[in-house]
């Protein structure tokens, strides 16, 4: 793993400010940090939900995110990446995922964060199960998530 790339899969919440500080601490070559936080909504397709339960494939989840982080590091001029994905039961309003990218200039940080999220959504082995008033069900994958990931292979 390239220096300054951190990937974690964990049940506990994360502190966004602390993660950004960890990426930039002791460095004066970073001019831009972009962070994306995915948050659990209180409804899915207009139906209210009580909670999400996130299942993952231990080992592969970290490896798959790591492969995309390496791709991002080689494709853009980045100073570092942190990706944290939570698993287990998550209620509306709670954090699910964090992507932080740091670079000299903003464009690389913006693009790399978006690239990582697009790939994470359609290629990282995580699955969301929804708890609702009428029972539990697995969220279905969306075609537009695949399309969002695919656009990075065209240019």
């Amino acid at each position: 793993m390239t220096e300054n790339v951190t990937i974690r899969v964990q049940e506990s919440d994360f502190d966004i400010a602390r993660e950004i500080s960890a990426l930039t601490a002791g460095r004066s070559d970073i001019g831009a940090v972009v962070s994306f936080t995915g948050i659990c909504r209180g409804s899915e397709d207009d139906a209210s939900i009580a909670a999400l339960t996130l299942e993952h494939y231990p080992g592969m989840a970290e490896a798959e995110i790591g492969r995309h982080a390496e791709t991002a590091m080689s494709r853009w001029e980045l100073s570092g990446i942190r990706v944290i994905h939570r698993i287990g039961r998550i209620t509306p309003g709670e954090n699910i995922v964090l992507v932080v990218t740091a670079s000299k200039h903003r464009q690389a940080a913006f693009e790399a964060a978006e690239f990582l999220m697009d790939y994470l959504k359609s290629n990282a082995p995580f699955w969301k199960r929804v708890e609702a008033a009428d029972g539990a069900s697995w969220i279905e994958a969306r075609d537009h998530d695949d399309a969002a990931a695919a656009r990075w292979t065209k240019s």
Binding site: L54, H56, M60, A63, P125, F126, D145
Partner: protein, 83 residues
């Protein structure tokens, strides 16, 4: 080799993992699915729409025409919904 199942594939088969020894004629992921389906109703239910099933060999995504020779761990799961 070890097989692992996730999300509704795991629920339909009724177990998270198992160790199997497919016959030598089973050479690809697709042929492995066909072999599993013949083992019983739970597998037939899990793989009833094979085109939506995703597969990974040793923690890397593969297409269903991938060879399974030498695989230590093969996983089957639905399209991913993380992030």
């Amino acid at each position: 080799m070890k097989l692992k199942y996730f999300a509704w594939v795991r629920e339909r088969i009724g177990k998270p993992e198992e160790t199997i020894e497919p016959p030598p004629g089973v050479k690809t992921v697709e042929e492995l699915i066909t072999w599993l389906v013949a083992r019983g109703e739970t597998y037939a239910h899990a793989f009833e729409t094979p085109r939506v099933i995703r597969a990974a060999i040793d923690h890397a995504h593969v297409k269903q025409d991938a060879a399974i020779a030498g695989a230590r761990e093969i996983a089957f799961f639905p399209p991913m919904t993380g992030g």
